[in-house]
């Protein structure tokens, strides 16, 4: 088995398949077929197999795998229920060389004794000398490989740089969907990996670490498979060596959560203590048990890393934020007070402006209403050139993070709004040139104007969060990763 594991070629077959088959295709395979078609995958290389069908979704259906005019199949999806798995696998292995298989069916090891038996039989089959196939699952949604394969029609086909390894198809799907709709996230690879009786999280991580497309990795982990007693140690070793940011969310952090894991993937969890040590001794980033947090954090990494890439920098040349000094800019009011409270509570600094800086700001423009302090409170002048000058002057060397409050308006094309937006763009340009982080806060509410403005901002590459706490938590994660890169000597090659 070790011999097979040393050949990560199978992961190319999984994520860049030349041929895909769906075994047991039926009307219920719509989401697979639609997903694969929407990725632009060559439909002549997509083979549906079912002895009882002639045609499905405008595609020819083959009676058996032997009829498929290919020497081998890179990726075969088995859609059948658990009772038909073993006979199907026998049939498959007797007919064709298959590089990777995805077993969709649940109700296996996580469900009952019978399910455990079936899993064990499958495991035995995979261990046979004559079989050279690697398997995803069972009990999972499978692969998302932009341009190749997807199990939902709405997964974006464009290649991005976020990779996902999830032990939950549901969360995997949600992550891609919400990440796309909310933040325009794009992905390089994704896999809902299920009960992991064969392909392990460590296998995929190792592959992603050495592959060109991926810059950020999100993991949702529940536990280890019974069949891989050494996976814990192996995973830990690999996590230690990761060169790319790994945002790691663990389901079953609490004891009560562990009990729930047993009925989900049936994998074996580990003690919190062990995980605390893993977080300490590896560059991975711990994410609380919330998909919202994982989305928020990934979004910031995505925007931050892509900013460097757009500047032509290599992944190794990315400079992470060095400090926790923040400047808050607002339109007036209690926002600044609450922002200050939250920032301080979460561990950021809000440096006071005094002496030279305060003097400098006053010389630029002595406002009548508001405050030339930090928070910088400048109502009514946000469309003027003095506003831009004050903000630039306030972003002194020791400021790392700039948080700006922004709001939509009923008329986004008024003279004032155009002036304001031009200032925003210039502030962004200024901040970007200095490797600092600018985050805009735009409160969430269901409103057409808000949506228009949000789209406008995200199209222009602004980082926008709906609340200060969410922005701050994401920033702290980015900062923490930069700190860890130093600690673990993930050296910049420059």
């Amino acid at each position: 088995m070790t011999d097979k594991e040393n050949k990560p070629k199978f992961l190319d077959a999984l994520f860049k398949p030349r041929t895909i088959g769906i075994y047991g295709a039926s009307e219920r395979s719509r989401h697979f077929v639609g997903g694969i078609k929407n990725q632009g995958f060559d439909q002549e290389k997509l083979y549906l197999i079912n002895p009882k069908r002639e045609e499905l979704f405008d595609l020819k259906v083959y009676k058996t795998l032997s009829d498929v005019p290919e020497e081998e199949i890179d990726h075969l999806i088995i859609t059948l229920g658990r009772d038909r798995l073993l006979t199907s696998l026998e049939d498959i292995f007797s007919r064709k060389k298959i590089n990777t298989i995805h077993i969709f069916a649940g109700s296996l090891g996580e469900f009952d004794e019978e399910g455990v038996k079936i899993e064990t039989e499958i495991r035995k089959m995979l261990d046979r000398e004559d079989i050279n196939t690697r398997l995803v699952g069972p009990n999972c949604m499978g692969v998302y490989a932009p341009g190749y394969c997807a199990y939902m029609k709405y997964f974006p086909p464009e290649l991005g740089n976020i990779a996902l390894i999830f032990q939950s198809g549901d969360l995997h799907t949600r992550f891609i969907k919400f990440g796309d709709l909310r933040y325009g996230l794009r992905f390089s690879r994704g896999v809902s990996i299920g009960n992991t009786i064969d392909i392990q999280i460590s296998d995929v991580l190792q592959y992603l670490n050495n592959e060109e497309d991926t810059d950020i990795i999100g993991v949702y982990f529940e536990g280890f498979s019974n069949y891989h007693p050494k996976e814990g140690r192996k995973l830990f070793q690999i996590l230690k060596t990761m060169k790319k940011p790994v945002l790691f969310m663990r389901g079953g952090e609490t004891e009560r959560g562990q009990a729930a894991v047993l009925t989900h993937t049936g994998t074996l969890g580990t003690k919190q203590k062990i995980w605390d040590a893993v977080y300490k001794q590896s560059p991975i980033i711990k994410v609380p048990s919330s998909l919202e947090s994982l989305l928020d954090y990934t979004y910031l990494f995505y925007m931050y890393i892509n900013k460097f890439k757009k500047q032509g920098k290599k992944f190794e040349e990315i400079l992470y934020p060095k400090g926790k000094n923040s400047l808050v800019i607002l339109w007036s009011g209690g926002f600044g007070i609450l922002a200050t409270d939250v920032l301080i509570k979460l561990g950021l600094n809000v440096p006071n402006f005094d002496g030279e800086i305060a003097e400098k700001l006053r010389r630029i423009y002595s406002i009548k209403v508001g405050s030339l302090s930090n928070p910088l409170d400048m109502p009514y002048i946000e469309m003027r050139k003095e506003y831009l000058e004050i903000v630039k002057a306030a972003i002194s060397e020791d400021i790392d993070l700039i948080i700006m409050q922004t709001d939509t308006a009923s008329n986004l094309q008024s003279e004032n709004r155009i002036g304001l937006y031009a200032n925003l763009l210039k502030i962004k340009e200024f901040v970007d040139s200095q490797n600092k982080v600018l985050i805009l806060i735009l409160y969430e509410y269901p409103d057409e104007n808000r949506k228009k403005y949000y789209d406008m901002l995200t199209n222009d590459g602004f980082i926008v969060y709906p609340s200060i706490p969410r922005a701050v938590e994401a920033y702290l994660t980015l900062y923490e990763y930069g700190r860890k890169r130093n600690t673990f000597k993930i050296l910049n090659k420059s």
């Binding site: 919400f178 079953g252 200050t340 409170d377």
Partner: protein
């Protein structure tokens, strides 16, 4: 100061029979637009301007002497700080004024000159015109549906939430976002600024006996310098409050306190003192965000909607008695991270075993999923809707206080959407008939489909949150408030 226990009626502040504005000009037309949006009769709106003939088509009077009323219920003073004292004296010498709204800023929060002006305002009102009360300076003013507003986009429908805010900006946002997110309506609201005259305690006392108000939300930055006993007074009134007071405090951190000084210039106080106050009064602490406040308001509003007018004893009877949650999911990892989150928030998720499990199996023995808690019922909602409902009902046993369900704005054909929607409704109605609580989680996505679905859920009275954690925080605030009320009733 010697009127500590007196409740000042603020009726004419919120529902003025007439309003005078000095000086009226185009720049302050938002006041007029706000009043018009609430249907205020312009015959009773006296705009005063020495230079303008009309503002927004409404006639202006040259001077205060020209207006046809001897008594002014609410005077909005918009003049700059340099003219404030002179204008005030001039008007109070001529007319009987019940309430003044000092709008202008650059007073106590700004510099020493501003502080002196505030001292004078306080002096004049307290010593010479004790029957005239004022809000401000440095504030947006009041809002009362069908009567009074400073913004045209505040709703004119009445609710029963009252607001008292030390920040006009946050006051406006809570009204706007409360409306657009959760369809919240309000009874009265005040952005009260630097408090040279009326204090937070005056508003609390008034709202506590106001029949139109059930819930009070307070954004608080600190004590005014003009009420040396305000701390004690506030504490006393808070102890007596019988309506829930959601309390958001700005300036909790030391660094935040210095930010307060340039905002309303009020004096902050120690966090320790406040922790004591939370313990001894029915005050409900809200973290440092208006989002959280709005989330809480939604929760409380939903509850009081059903029990308006109920006695305290009756309320206490139906507040949740425990923190036992049941999570019903369609499948998958969401149940695991929900379980972790619930545990972290200190809620219990009773395990179903033995008898309960058997009972569920007897209702319907599923092939995929799990008859546990989280109750994992994939496919069943659509393939066997009756069994789905029966299983859910059976799982909502006596000791469950909170039911959590997930939904999303995925596109569905009408039939399956309706089926899902009706199922949620059936379960929600069942949950509420038992005086339990159901929270529905609908994650945020910027799509019109989500918006439509969300607004329908809100309209139909579902407690919908976009993030489980927000819903749980609100539930816990609600639960804790119930426990406090229970204790207070026991000792009374």
């Amino acid at each position: 100061m010697n009127e500590e226990n007196k409740i000042i009626s603020l009726d004419f502040l919120f529902k003025p029979r007439n309003i005078a504005m000095f000086v009226a000009k185009q720049a302050f037309s938002f006041f007029i637009e706000g009043l018009l949006a609430q249907g205020f009769n312009t015959d009773n709106l006296y705009l005063i301007s020495p230079s303008e003939e009309k503002v927004l088509g409404i006639k202006c009077y040259k001077s205060i002497n020209d207006i046809p009323s001897d008594t002014i219920d609410l005077l909005i003073l918009t003049v700059t700080r340099n003219e404030l004292i002179k204008s005030l004296r001039n008007i109070l010498d001529t007319k009987q004024v019940n309430f003044i709204h000092f709008f202008g800023a650059r007073t106590g929060e700004y510099d020493d000159i501003g502080l002196k002006i505030e001292d004078q305002l306080n002096d004049i009102l307290r010593k010479e015109y004790p029957n005239t009360k004022a809000i401000g300076p440095n504030c947006m003013g009041v809002y009362c549906p069908m009567h009074n507003s400073y913004s045209a986009d505040f709703p004119s429908e009445k609710g029963f939430i009252a607001l008292t805010f030390h920040s006009g900006d946050l006051h406006s946002r809570v009204i706007r976002y409360g409306l657009s997110r959760y369809n919240l309506k309000f009874s009265k609201g005040g952005s009260i600024g630097n408090c040279v005259s009326l204090q937070v305690s005056d508003f609390l006392k008034y709202f506590n006996q106001d029949e139109e108000t059930e819930i009070i939300a307070l954004y608080y930055e600190g004590f005014s310098r003009y009420q040396k006993l305000e701390g004690r007074e506030l504490f006393k009134i808070l102890k007596d409050m019988r309506k829930p007071v959601l309390f958001l405090r700005g300036g909790k951190s030391n660094r935040g306190k210095t930010a307060v000084l340039t905002h309303t210039g009020s004096l902050g106080s120690d966090e320790k003192i406040w922790q004591g106050v939370y313990k001894q009064t029915p005050l409900i602490e809200v973290g440092s965000s208006i989002d959280e406040m709005i989330d809480y308001l939604f929760f409380f509003n939903n509850f009081y909607k059903k029990i308006r007018g109920a006695s305290l004893q009756e309320q206490v009877n139906i507040y949740p008695k425990g923190k036992n949650a049941l999570v019903i999911i369609w499948s998958g990892g969401i149940g695991i991270i929900d379980t972790d989150t619930l545990s972290e928030f200190g809620l219990n998720m009773p395990l179903f075993d033995g008898e309960t499990k058997e009972r569920l199996q007897n209702v319907y023995n599923i092939k995929v999923g799990s008859l546990s808690n989280p109750l994992d019922l994939p496919w069943i909602m659509h393939r066997r809707p009756d069994e789905y409902v029966a299983l859910s009902k059976a799982a909502i046993s006596e000791n469950i206080d909170l039911v959590i369900m997930h939904t999303d704005a995925r596109r569905r054909d009408k039939k399956s959407f309706d089926l899902m929607y009706d199922t949620f409704k059936i379960i929600r109605d069942y949950v509420e008939s038992l005086n339990k609580i159901m929270i529905l989680i609908l994650p945020n996505t910027p799509t019109s489909g989500r918006k439509r679905y969300y607004q329908r859920l809100i309209k139909d009275g579902f407690l919908v949150y976009s993030d489980l954690r927000n819903g749980l925080k609100a539930f816990l605030a609600f639960y804790n408030h119930g426990m406090k009320l229970r204790k207070m009733l026991d000792t009374e």
